[in-house]
Structures are given as structure tokens and as C-alpha cells.
């Protein structure tokens, strides 16, 4: 691997005389890249407008929202309110839904990563019969549209409701039933299953790109597969795993369909479901909808900005070597 040498010595030697020349060079470079910068910034601005509109509207007075466009917010009357947020959080149950969303999303993300990483390790580095055929099946599952599976899964869950019925309907930690419809465990399992094919595919390719010598070296050092997995593969694959975590987190967080089908109970509804209900009951109360929508966006935005370095790295890492 090439090592970058600091070039401070060279820069110090350059001195004051060529400073003007360097300035000219910098300006020249800026001029050449100006069209690029303008178009990138322009695109970013266009893409951000809806979000900005949402944010601005959510802080406006209900009366103003329906009478004037959001861009008028900077003009007179210059007034903003937290009232919309108070309303949706307290009276419309968005606070509870936020917690529900977390309860659904965090385990669904962690389960996918744990299971997929172990499966991907086996597919990439362990020898067992039908390995490639099985991997092909897993990749093939990527093609199956999620919607196709909803009815069979729902039927299965309804049957499970019967089988687990004797346990009653209020398991304290699981928020209702042990498994089946209207249970957290049920929706975790569904999200995990739907997320696995892509996760296994992505991680297998990443693991497969790790140098073979590392594994062999570790085997000779006396490591079992489990040790190699935890001590070598996981630490080295953090970029790919972080990227996958972000993807999966966003999918589950933004999911409406699966929650709608498998989790009808408003007490356990995630934010997506609550917002949908808001739309149907307050179709014109834009100030409430925008506030609710922004609450649901807040966490993904935070996650994205915190981990964006991994996000970009991980996408590349998965794609380069297979």
C-alpha cells in the first residue's frame, strides 16, 4: 500500500515570492470548477426544497398555513409556533409512536446484521455442501417482491396467533402477544426476513474480498471459525456493516406496508402508521401533518449525518470486490 508523505518541507521552501502565482493558480482552478460547483449546489437546493418547505410549514400558525405559501414565512407576519408539535406529540400520540418506531427498528436492524454477517461468513469462507447453490437461492430471493409474500405471511401469523393463544395477549416486554400479528416479535421477524437477502449478499461480497491469507493465518494461529468471525472479520468489516445498518434502519423506520398489515393496533403503531391515520382523519390540517412528518424524519437525518462517512465508504466497499 502506498504511503502518503507529508509535503510540508516543499511548501515551506516555496516562500513568499511565488505566493501571487499560487493565488492565480487557485483562482484559475476555482474558475474551471465553477460550473461543477454551481450545478451541484443547484441540484442539492432543488432536492432540499420539499424538506425545507416541510420544516417551515410545521412551525407556522395553522391559520397562515392554509392561507399563504410557506415561502411567505419570511415576510410579515413573522411568527412561528411550537404548537403544532405539541399537538401531534401529545394529543395525536406521536410521542408513543416514536417510541414504537424505535422498538420496532432497533431490534430489526440488529437481528439482520447478526444473522446476515454469520451467514455471509459461512458463504464466503466455510466449506460445506451446496454452498454456492444455497447462496444462489438467497440472492434469488432478492427478486421476490415483498408484496407477494404478505398474504402467506399474514395467514401464517394468524395461525401462530392461535397456537400461541394460550399465552394470553399481554406479554409485558413484548408489548402484547408473544408472536404473530400485533406483536413486536412478529414484526421483528418479518423485517429481518425481508432484509436478509440483500444483507447476506452485500456482506458476503465484502467478506469475500478480505484476503485469504488473513483467515489461513488465523486458523494456523488456532482460531475457530467463531473466533475468526468475531476477532478478525467483524472488526475489519465495520464500514460495510455500518452501511448496512444505515440502510436497514432507514428501511424499517420508513416502512408503512408491513406495519400496516401485521401491526394494526394503534398502541403499537410506528410513526408511519400514525401519520397515515392523521392524513385520513385531518386531511387538511397541513400544519399537523408537516410537524408529524418532520418528527419522523428527524432521527434518520441524525443517523445519516452521524454515519455518512461509513455510508459512502460502505457502498463502495461492497461493490468493488466480489
Amino acid at each position: 500500500m502506498a504511503r502518503r508523505e507529508p509535503s510540508t518541507a516543499g511548501e515551506a521552501a516555496a516562500g513568499a515570492a511565488p505566493r501571487a502565482a499560487r493565488l492565480g493558480e487557485a483562482l484559475n482552478r476555482l474558475a474551471r470548477r465553477l460550473p461543477l460547483h454551481v450545478s451541484v449546489i443547484g441540484l442539492a437546493a432543488i432536492w432540499s426544497i420539499p424538506t425545507i418547505a416541510l420544516l417551515v410549514s410545521s412551525f407556522r400558525d395553522p391559520g397562515l398555513v392554509v392561507t399563504s405559501g410557506w415561502w411567505n414565512a419570511v415576510k410579515d407576519p413573522f411568527e412561528f409556533t411550537f404548537g403544532n408539535y405539541e399537538t401531534v406529540l401529545e394529543r395525536q400520540g406521536m410521542a408513543r409512536s416514536f417510541v414504537n418506531s424505535l422498538i420496532i427498528t432497533v431490534p430489526s436492524t440488529m437481528l439482520v446484521i447478526l444473522v446476515a454477517a454469520m451467514a455471509a461468513y459461512a458463504f464466503a469462507w466455510m466449506k460445506f455442501p451446496f454452498r454456492n447453490a444455497l447462496f444462489l437461492v438467497v440472492v434469488g430471493l432478492l427478486v421476490v417482491p415483498l408484496q407477494m409474500t404478505l398474504i402467506p405471511v399474514l395467514q401464517l401469523y394468524v395461525n401462530l396467533n392461535d397456537w400461541f393463544g394460550f399465552l394470553g395477549n399481554d406479554m409485558p416486554l413484548l408489548g402484547g402477544r408473544l408472536f404473530g400479528t400485533n406483536s413486536y416479535a412478529g414484526i421483528w421477524a418479518a423485517h429481518t426476513a425481508f432484509g436478509l437477502p440483500f444483507a447476506v449478499y452485500l456482506l458476503r461480497n465484502f467478506f469475500g474480498g478480505l484476503p485469504r491469507d488473513l483467515f489461513e493465518s488465523a486458523y494456523l494461529d488456532g482460531a475457530s471459525d467463531l473466533r475468526v468471525f468475531f476477532r478478525i472479520v467483524l472488526p475489519l468489516s465495520m464500514p460495510a456493516i455500518a452501511a448496512l445498518a444505515i440502510f436497514q434502519f432507514l428501511w424499517v423506520w420508513n416502512d408503512l406496508l408491513i406495519a400496516l398489515i401485521l401491526l394494526g393496533d394503534p398502541d403499537r403503531a410506528p410513526m408511519t402508521l400514525t401519520i397515515t391515520n392523521l392524513v385520513s382523519s385531518f386531511g387538511t390540517a397541513y400544519q399537523l401533518l408537516t410537524a408529524a412528518a418532520f418528527i419522523s424524519m428527524a432521527l434518520p437525518l441524525l443517523v445519516f449525518f452521524a454515519l455518512q462517512r461509513y455510508f459512502v465508504q460502505g457502498i463502495l466497499a461492497g461493490a468493488v470486490k466480489g
Binding site: P211, L214, E216, S217, A218, Y219, L220, A223, L236
Partner: protein, 369 residues
């Protein structure tokens, strides 16, 4: 401390692929430094990996000491291996790299510390223990790889082309250090390389492989002086041996070897071996160092003389390498640096008849020898 024995080991990677290693038998005594040498694709790395347990044996047996290891997992064979890429764990410090194998074997913390520090001392990497591999140079990484093997105190030490990623100067230096390490540890070493110079300089014995077949095993000197066949003769020694197709002429007392380019009498002591080949073709081999500039030939040399045209001269200071042409046949000579050979000029050369090799043209095996 262990003897390693290969008994008729064969390796086939898949049903319809050719054999990677064929009928390989070899006994490596305890504390020997055995070098496996051969061109790429000769199966030398495969032999090493079979011993390490990284590949499964198709047929045959491998023993380490008295123990049959065919079905023993790599980690239980008491073997340490240095990889060509060094394969340091990138996310661990040098200390943790060295300690990894020991901690997996539940060695006590204090003992690990002691052994890691000893190994670091031997290799001169004590001040690097806290660094990560990416902050190390190639030579330092190579030491870390060696250190990882040393701390384990294995019965057999395997090295797979450990020097090929180093620059020329460092390679020469590390070569000597590995030899020293072998003497110091007193462990059986098995070392794979494609570089015959490495093989010659480090080995107790060399095993030459070609296309999965063991060609010859012997000390460097034996291989150099008495190569068993044309392949070994051409592979060992640098620059490589020159070969000429020759026919054996003569009867009674006056036998001679006639090539297209020249005719030389041949020494009395070889006459008996070559007698059956009269009228047949053989391959004559002579090393560049056994061809002298006639002007500076050593005294007492029994020589055959050849006139050739000098094509290229390489002056090395202590010697001169001449690229010579007779008709269209090129051959090399390693002559006294005082030579007056100039490109394009003719030169008379003396071939040391006693140092000539002869090979059967069909079987490629050495005649007599």
C-alpha cells in the same frame, strides 16, 4: 522439534483438473532447513499448504514426528506459517498480532508478555509493538510475520516466499537473518521459493519441483555438481547452464562429442558412461563458469576449444558475463574480468571438459553422474 515425512502424497484440486502434486515422497529430518524450489505452478506452495493443513490431501500420508496428520486440523498440527503477504491482522497492534495465537491457546497473560517481548527482541521490533501494521514498512511487516511464528514455538516452521515482496537489498539482508534464526531456534524449517539463489544460500537441503513432480533432493552442492536431469541442471545455478545437442562419435580410444557448433574430445573418466551412446544424440551441458577466455584459462585445465562471436558483454568487476554466438546458438560464459572480449569480435574459449555434464536426449536424465 520434529521430523516431517511425506509418503506418496498426491493432490488434485478437482475431479477433472490435472494433479497439482504427484506421488511426492520426502523425509525432512529434525532441525533441517529444507527449501522447496521450482518455477511458478510447480506445486511447491501446494506441498507446503498440504503440510500446514490448509489443503486436503487427495492420496498419501503426511507425518509430523510420529503423528499422522492427514486428518488433524491445521491449528492442531503445531505448525506456524509465514505468508508471502505477511498477512498481519490490520486492526491489531504489533503486540496483539504476536499475542493472538498464544491468547487463543489460553497461555497466561504474563507468559504471553514474556514470549512476545523475547520474539520482538530477537527480531529487533521492540519499539514497534504499539504500532498498527499499516504504519510499518515492508521489512518491518515481514518481521512481524516472523515474530508471530516465533512466539508460538512450533514444531515446524513454514515460510511461503517470505522475501519476494522485499526490495533487493533488504532481501539479501533478511536471507541471512532467517538463516540465523533457523540456527537459533533449532526448529525444522520448510521454505518455499522460486528463487534458486535463496534456495542455494539458505538450505540444508533443496527439493526441486517441476509440474508437481519432485525432480531431485539434495544439498545445494550436490544439486549444483550432480543434477539428476536437464530441468534441475538448468534451474540451479545462475546464469543457467548452457545446453547443446550433441552426438557421440568415435570408437576405441578417441571418442568425441560433436555439436552443430563445435566438436570436443571428452574426458577419459566419462568414456565408460558414454560408450553406450555412441552414434546417438545426447545433451551436453556446461555451466557459464566452466567456460573460460582462452587467454586467461587456469593452468592445468583440460579444455576443448571453441571459437565464438561476442554478442554482449556484462562487466561485473570481479567477473565478466559474455553472451556468445556460434552460428545462431547463443550461450553464456563467465570469464576473467581482464578479458579483451568486445561485442562483435571473435573470441576463443576454453571449455572445461571435466566439468561437462551429459544428459540422455530422450529421458532427460543425467548420464552417469
Amino acid at each position: 522439534m520434529a521430523t516431517v515425512t511425506f509418503e506418496r502424497v498426491t493432490k488434485r484440486f478437482s475431479q477433472d483438473s490435472p494433479l497439482a502434486v504427484t506421488d511426492f515422497s520426502l523425509e525432512i529430518p529434525d532441525k533441517e532447513f529444507l527449501v522447496l524450489v521450482g518455477p511458478s505452478g510447480s506445486g511447491k506452495s501446494t506441498v507446503l499448504r498440504l503440510l500446514a493443513g490448509l489443503e486436503e490431501i487427495t492420496e498419501g500420508k503426511i507425518f509430523i514426528g510420529e503423528r499422522l496428520v492427514n486428518n488433524i486440523a491445521a491449528k492442531d498440527r503445531d505448525i506456524a506459517m509465514v505468508f508471502q503477504s505477511y498477512a498481519p491482522y490490520p486492526h491489531m497492534s504489533v503486540y496483539d498480532n504476536l499475542a493472538f495465537g498464544l491468547s487463543l491457546r489460553n497461555v497466561a497473560k504474563e507468559e504471553i508478555r514474556g514470549r512476545v517481548e523475547d520474539a520482538a527482541q530477537i527480531l529487533g521490533i521492540k519499539e514497534l509493538l504499539k504500532r498498527k501494521p499499516r504504519a510499518l514498512s515492508g521489512g518491518q511487516r515481514q518481521r512481524v510475520a516472523l515474530g508471530r511464528a516465533i512466539v508460538r514455538d512450533p514444531a515446524v516452521f513454514l515460510l511461503d516466499e517470505p522475501l519476494s515482496n522485499l526490495d533487493a537489498k533488504l532481501r539479501v539482508q533478511t536471507r541471512a537473518e532467517i538463516s540465523k534464526l533457523h540456527q537459533r531456534l533449532g526448529t525444522t524449517f520448510m521454505y518455499v521459493t522460486h528463487d534458486q539463489v535463496e534456495a542455494m544460500t539458505m538450505a540444508t537441503r533443496i527439493a526441486v519441483l517441476d509440474r508437481g513432480l519432485l525432480q531431485q533432493v539434495g544439498t545445494p552442492q550436490e544439486l549444483y555438481e550432480r543434477p539428476r536431469n536437464i530441468f534441475v541442471a538448468g534451474f540451479i545455478g545462475s546464469p543457467a547452464m548452457n545446453f547443446f545437442d550433441a552426438s557421440v562419435n568415435g570408437s576405441g580410444g578417441g571418442m568425441e562429442l560433436e555439436t552443430k557448433q563445435f566438436t570436443v574430445p571428452f574426458p577419459d573418466k566419462r568414456k565408460k558412461e558414454l560408450a553406450p551412446y555412441i552414434g546417438k544424440t545426447v545433451v551436453l551441458g556446461i555451466r557459464p563458469e566452466n567456460i573460460h577466455d582462452r587467454e586467461f584459462q587456469p593452468g592445468g585445465l583440460r579444455a576443448g576449444y571453441v571459437k565464438a562471436t561476442v554478442d554482449v558483454t556484462e562487466m561485473m568487476g570481479n567477473e565478466a558475463i559474455l553472451y556468445l554466438l556460434v552460428d545462431d546458438k547463443q550461450f553464456l560464459a563467465r570469464v576473467d574480468p581482464r578479458t579483451r572480449a568486445r561485442p562483435g569480435q571473435p573470441l576463443e574459449l576454453a571449455l572445461d571438459l571435466d566439468a561437462m555434464h551429459a544428459f540422455d536426449g530422450e529421458t532427460q536424465l543425467a548420464i552417469g553422474g
